[in-house]
């Protein structure tokens, strides 16, 4: 197995210390450390998915109970915002895998650039989201606010249970947006450490696992986009 091979390799490498600096003492080899980190993040992603599936289940239940209400309320969301943000997040996932591909080929500068691009795309996503939230807020609709007014929203005041869909929209996109924000901070840190020369093709565990997290955030949006914006 590759694990044993690495253990022997590191043995040969030995001069002043008996293992590379990044290898923590409780791991047999760098490969084992890498695989453990990855599996740990996958288990964490399971808990993330269960968090979001609660929202998706609430959506399914309420949509089943009040289909007319959902149908009426859907039309107030702007498909263009949703579509643009979908493309932005998909592109950011692509730049993320390219960052990992770069560091696997030991191209540190390229990796840093791709990481900063990913963060920038995350910022674009959050900006579009903010514009969208602002429009709703001006229409009297927000997380804790339900006083629909203005020609685009006022009819919602006469739709029974209309607030359920809108509040679901805010909770779902709000928690998702929070994840995007955390992902951006994480990737900024990873990019910064990359600039300092911390990662190489031998050791890029943090780049890899932050990437996994970023892709999950993308996957959540892949489901949120059609369910919130498209299927009226």
């Amino acid at each position: 197995m590759s694990t044993t091979a690495t253990a022997i390799d590191t043995g040969h490498h030995d001069h002043d210390h008996d293992h590379p600096e990044y290898l923590q003492h409780h791991f047999v080899s760098a490969d084992q450390q890498f695989d453990s980190a990855k599996m740990g993040i996958w288990l964490f992603l399971v808990t993330e998915v269960l968090l979001f599936s609660g929202i998706f289940v609430a959506y399914a239940v309420f949509r089943n109970w009040y289909p007319e209400s959902f149908h009426e309320t859907f039309s107030t969301l702007n498909i263009v915002y949703g579509f643009v943000n979908t493309c932005v997040l998909l592109t950011s996932s692509y730049t993320m895998v390219m960052a990992i591909n770069s560091i696997q080929n030991n191209q540190v500068d390229k990796m840093v650039n791709y990481l900063f691009t990913t963060v920038a795309l995350g910022a674009v996503f959050m900006l579009v989201k903010t514009v969208e939230y602002k429009e709703k807020y001006d229409g009297g609709i927000f997380f804790w606010l339900w006083e629909p007014h203005g020609h685009h929203y006022e009819h919602l005041a006469n739709v029974a249970y209309a607030s359920i869909f809108m509040k679901l929209y805010f909770v779902a996109t709000g928690i998702h947006g929070l994840h995007v924000l955390i992902g951006m901070l994480l990737l900024l840190w990873v990019a910064w450490k990359g600039k300092e020369g911390r990662w190489s093709s031998d050791y890029y565990n943090y780049v890899e696992v932050s990437g996994l997290y970023w892709h999950l955030v993308d996957i959540i949006w892949i489901f949120l986009f059609p369910l919130l914006y498209l299927t009226s």
Binding site: K38, L43, A60, V61, L90, S201, F223, F225, L227, T231
Partner: protein, 161 residues
Amino acid sequence: MAHGHSHEGGGHHIVPQSVLRNTFLALLVLTLITVGTSMFLHAVPSLGFLGIPLAILLATGKASLVVMYFMGIKYDKPINGVIAVGMVLFVVIFMVFTMMDTTTRKAFGDRFGTTTMEDAEHWKELKAREKEILEGAKKVPLTPADYQRLGAVPADTTAKQ
């Protein structure tokens, strides 16, 4: 070090750039198809029931591409694949069992009895009472036209105006 065995299919498999690019393009195309089908279904309301199944199918396809190629499950250790599949299974159980409950609740909206049969019996009683009340309501005069329909002439309609 890791160079020696970086292509053995362990944690350090390098996915070819062409695969990554094609995955990205496929994701964009599937997004366009998702928006396209939604617009088509808006134009043809009789097929509206396909909206949710199609949207979920396309989203699942996109998510699978991300999981397989971007997250590298295709090239990864099998254990991570097992975790990913288990994750989907948990969500399906959560969703299906909740829907089994919530979609069948309405039939027994007013629960007074303790057994299903008692509920059904009580439901019948409530329905009968509801019918009585509704028919009674029709006999209550509210507008001048109601008074005429019921054969009674209101004494004070003009007085109130």
